[in-house]
């Protein structure tokens, strides 16, 4: 197929994916869009939401639609790194000889749901996050690559704080997005109840496969982004740093520390995918503005002033966007 045709079909493919997912997941359009963007971009997602709002169902449905193997890892305080990555086991071969065999862990899937990642110990968290970063596992000097596309959606429960090991900022930076899954609206809740009364199984059908996702990823890389947009994304990330010379009022007043350069990479990469997802063929400032929230909210730490003024991280990000646009 001509590349042009493939580009044209990109948004169609995404529409189909969304359509199928909506068969199993009610509402949460923004979350679904962001998850798709993250998958196509090659990033991972940290999802925060109360229990029972469909986090597992989303990933499971996604795996069906994308025809990708799915695994769910429930993180508990006693979870060991080998429980995630896999370990070598001793077994008898057909000749009865003892040999080592690597038993792959649940991480060896294309779509992984790391549930309540903040409940595991930092060691287990680190093992998980290392795989997320490198897309490979090294056990006993043997390296095992994870098949692409590889996507991890980690979850955190916003309520439960006792007995948790909050992810350090450096680890948080490895997630492309942090998405906030809200409680469904009343009408959505009604639809969920009605739907699950019929069946609890996911009814979504497969519309794309892994190679297609990879193709889409390559296509998205070719989406043009003019310098003005790139500059805007960089200024937005730089504006989160109060220690920089010429720091704006928002950063100085409300932010304790700002986002890393990964945020800038995430913004541009995701913006290119987003443009194609919405049927555009260029990155725009509107794309950057929309992606600023999921990209930055887990990468900046607000200060006491924001807390005392009851400003959430998203509120501060909104102020940053206004400040950067005003300065433009």
């Amino acid at each position: 197929m001509e590349n042009i045709e493939k580009v044209k079909l990109f948004s169609e493919s995404v529409s189909k994916i969304k359509e199928q997912i909506h068969k199993d997941v009610v509402g949460q359009e923004d979350i679904i869009d962001s998850v798709i963007i993250a998958i196509v971009s090659g990033g991972n997602v940290l999802l925060e939401g109360v229990p029972g709002i469909g986090k597992t169902r989303l990933v499971r449905s996604l795996s069906k639609v994308l025809s990708l193997p799915f695994s769910r890892i429930q993180f508990t305080p006693d979870l060991m790194p080998s429980d995630v990555t896999g370990t070598n086991v001793i077994e008898k071969d057909e000749n009865g000889n003892m040999k080592q065999k690597f038993e792959k862990g649940p991480i060896f899937a294309n779509l992984v749901l790391a549930d309540e990642i903040n409940r595991a110990t930092p060691k287990t968290q680190a093992a998980m996050l290392e795989v997320m970063q490198e897309h490979k596992v090294t056990v006993a000097h043997e390296t095992y690559k994870i098949e692409e596309p590889f996507f991890v959606m980690a979850t955190q429960n916003p309520i439960e704080q006792d007995g948790t090991y909050p992810l350090p900022e450096a680890q948080m930076d490895r997630f492309m997005f942090k998405l906030l899954m809200k409680f469904p609206k009343l009408e959505e809740l009604s639809e969920i109840v009605n739907m699950t009364q019929i069946t609890m199984d996911e009814t979504a059908e497969s519309v794309v496969d892994g190679p297609t996702i990879l193709e889409m990823r390559e296509l998205a890389k070719g989406v043009p982004c003019i310098d003005d947009v790139t500059d805007y994304a960089m200024k937005l990330v730089a504006a989160t740093h109060p220690e920089l010379e010429g720091a704006g009022e928002v950063a100085t007043k409300y932010i304790k520390y700002g986002a890393s350069p990964r945020a800038c990479q995430a913004l541009i990469t995701a913006a290119k995918v987003r443009a194609l997802v919405y049927g555009n063929y260029n990155v725009s400032i509107a794309d950057i503005d929309a992606l600023a929230y999921p990209v930055l909210r887990h990468r900046i730490k607000v200060g006491f002033n924001a807390i005392s003024e009851h400003l959430s991280v998203d509120d501060v990000i909104g102020l940053l966007i206004k400040e950067v646009k005003k300065a433009k």
Binding site: L219, D228, V229, N280, Y281, N282, V283, D287
Partner: protein, 492 residues
Amino acid sequence: MSERFNEFKKKMTIEVLVKALLIGLSVGFLASGGAILTLKLIGIALHPLYIALIVAGGLALGAGVFSAIFFPLKPSDLKVAKRLDEELGLNEKMQTMVIFKDSDAPVMQLQREDAVSVLSTKPTKSVKFRFSLVVLAAFIVTGAVFTTSHVVPVIDHTVQHQTPTDPPYILDSWTEQAIMDLIKYINSSEAQPPAKEQLVGNLEALLKNLKVDGVTIPQMQEYVENTIYMNTSSINRVNVGDDIALALSTADEKAILHISSAMLKADKNGLEKAILELKDILDSDGFMVMAPRIHKQMGQAMEAAGIDKTETDIARQLYRLSNLIDFTAKNESRYATFMASIEPVLNEASRRVPEAIIEEKVNIAVKDYVNDRLVKIFQINPPEQQGPQSGGHNNETGNNDVGDHTGGMGTGELIMGSDDVILDYEEGYVQYKDVISKYLADLLALYEDGTLPEEYKDLIDYYYGLLYGSIKADEEGEETGTPGSDGDGTGV
């Protein structure tokens, strides 16, 4: 670029063109109009050629400003794209299309198609024509300045100084009649004809001047003061008695001193007696010695004093007497024939000279009366000095005037003609100038009758020599000439 894009670009180009034109014209209007208006306001009138040159210069400046604004601001494809993205909400589609116009990537081809497709749905009027009200206002204001500069006339800053006009003087009939009455008085007075003629002439000249149109009061005062001055000068010219008396006061011969004294006092009888005293001196055998002596002291003294007033009766009489005494003495050897020749002349002189002295006093009296009347008629302050002060008698000064010199009465000020008031034993409080001649005559009389010793003669000579300017205070011993002449007066 697409056709629609070019349409937008054309619209934006026109916008910049209009803006640059308005600004250029505004600058041109301000420069030329401001210059012309400024010059007119400060009063400089310009030739139309110069105005045209200034306007041309302003337009040239405006053209320069237009170019400086239009070409840099002329919208490029990227500027147009940026503005389209901003105003039409195209999310950087246009800018991406322009920047990556040379890219053959599949996505770029689709992007271009998409951008063109989206833009085609936007009419050109969806981009509003940007018009700066400030620029428009500036154009209107500068246009008004330019128009005003051509309409307003040159402001004339010449200040018309109005000299304060003096109040006019109008000669009324009463004043004219008063002057006419004065003329009648003069003509009917006992003054000598030359004196009358001078005084009447002066008054007629005054009347003539006052009848001229446009005479002001200060001018009238000046005319009257000049008339008073002229009256005094005229009488001084006519009266020679005192001049002769002062000239004769340089003599040693007592008889001549007596004549001088009597003349100064205007003592008619004394003058008769003093002239006839010469007869007694000559009526002896020593006439051949006395005659030249008398001639020298009398005739030559008068000549040395510059009294060349042979027109006057007094001078003529005395010159004739002096010359005849000398001539007869030289040509007659016998006393009897000598006396026979000079006696009639002596007698005539003794009669005529005193009469003339009295007549001169009448001249002065008439002149004083006329001057007093003029002061009263015109109600002016009497002039302090009647005429310029200068030394000697060869000038038209008032009686008793002498030149500026030091000495006299120990004050260092001019005494002769001074207005200093003294207490005279006969006259009471008078001005010194009015009695000084009387004092000189009295001193001479005292000297003649022996009351004053010989040695006082030199003192008298010196004192009156200073008064009359014949001696300078710092030139003691240089006593020459008659009293009153500059630097060469002699003592009395």
